[in-house]
Symmetry: C2
Subunit: 179 residues, 2 copies
């Protein structure tokens, strides 16, 4: 159930992260949330701008409202908590979302190591992203496009996902030039 | 020197990743590059679109030309190899760069675990990103905005970085709501 296999190489642990959309009815201790946020905090970013803020949401009503703001955001209502990423689009341009993706991945991998499941939700279209920002009381230039569900995993009900799983093989997505 | 401390928890290994801009004159075995790419390949993405392709560049002339296409890209010329990320902006919108950031972070963390240093370079302004795409023979809708230097680390010369290091403290970048 936990992602952490002591002694398993880091690259194997990174490769084994998968999305979790179903969560056990078990609270996540604040000390574990802090560890996860620490990993996100140390993420690198273009010119070290750190264009992110982290909103830890445990309010059930707010999680339910956020879960309605994207086609694949329902898991937010099932999670004990979610971390909303507020991203500063004024300083970073396209780098801001790239860097936010880096922080999200660090956050989810740290959670994985602590036995926590996670899944990102995108708020779309942009009117929904704006509404998510209003619900979280986030002001311009900060934008809320992503929230990450966090919790101890529960088994997924069978046959629920409409999204194909697996990944393209490496030889279809890689080209080697001069090496 | 390597990032991997056997038995060190995953969240601590994630938190300890730092950028490496100086590299030893030591080739990176193809088997290690494949491990790093495998970690990137398994990254999650919105609707599992996998909006990325990986170009592994070992050609010295190409690395030198790419190193001139951004204010902080010089390290590409110092690295034994770089992985250029081609990202499909047609399918993903802003999700595409967010997802590319996730893949980049997985790639750099896997490298960290194998004792490899890494540093991302952004190609900017957009005319430079377009030129990077042409140099790498990448066609629309694929865009090249980022390359990641990879290699075994060498000590950095003293006093070289113009960018502040460290990170904002957690209480300045976090808000807790309803938990």
């Amino acid at each position: 159930m936990g992602g952490e296999q002591l002694g398993e190489p880091l690259h194997a642990q990174v490769s084994s992260l998968r999305a979790t959309r179903w969560f056990a009815d078990r609270p996540v201790p604040a000390s574990e949330i802090v560890r996860v946020l620490e990993a996100a905090r140390w993420t690198g970013s273009a010119r070290n701008r750190q264009p992110w803020r982290f909103l830890v949401i445990g309010d059930r009503g707010l999680l339910r409202r956020l879960s309605l703001l994207g086609g694949y955001a329902a898991h937010l209502a099932a999670a004990p908590i979610a971390v909303v990423l507020a991203v500063d689009h004024a300083v970073g341009g396209e780098d801001a979302e790239f860097d936010a993706g880096r922080a999200a991945q660090s956050l989810m991998l740290a959670a994985h190591g602590l036995g926590l499941g996670s899944c990102p939700a995108s708020f779309f279209p942009s009117s929904n992203a704006d509404q998510a920002g209003r619900l979280c009381k986030v002001q311009t230039p900060w934008k809320v496009r992503t929230a990450i569900s966090l919790g101890y995993p529960a088994p997924a009900p069978p046959g629920r996902s409409a999204i194909p799983t697996g990944r393209l093989p490496l030889d279809r997505i890689t080209r080697w030039i001069g090496c």
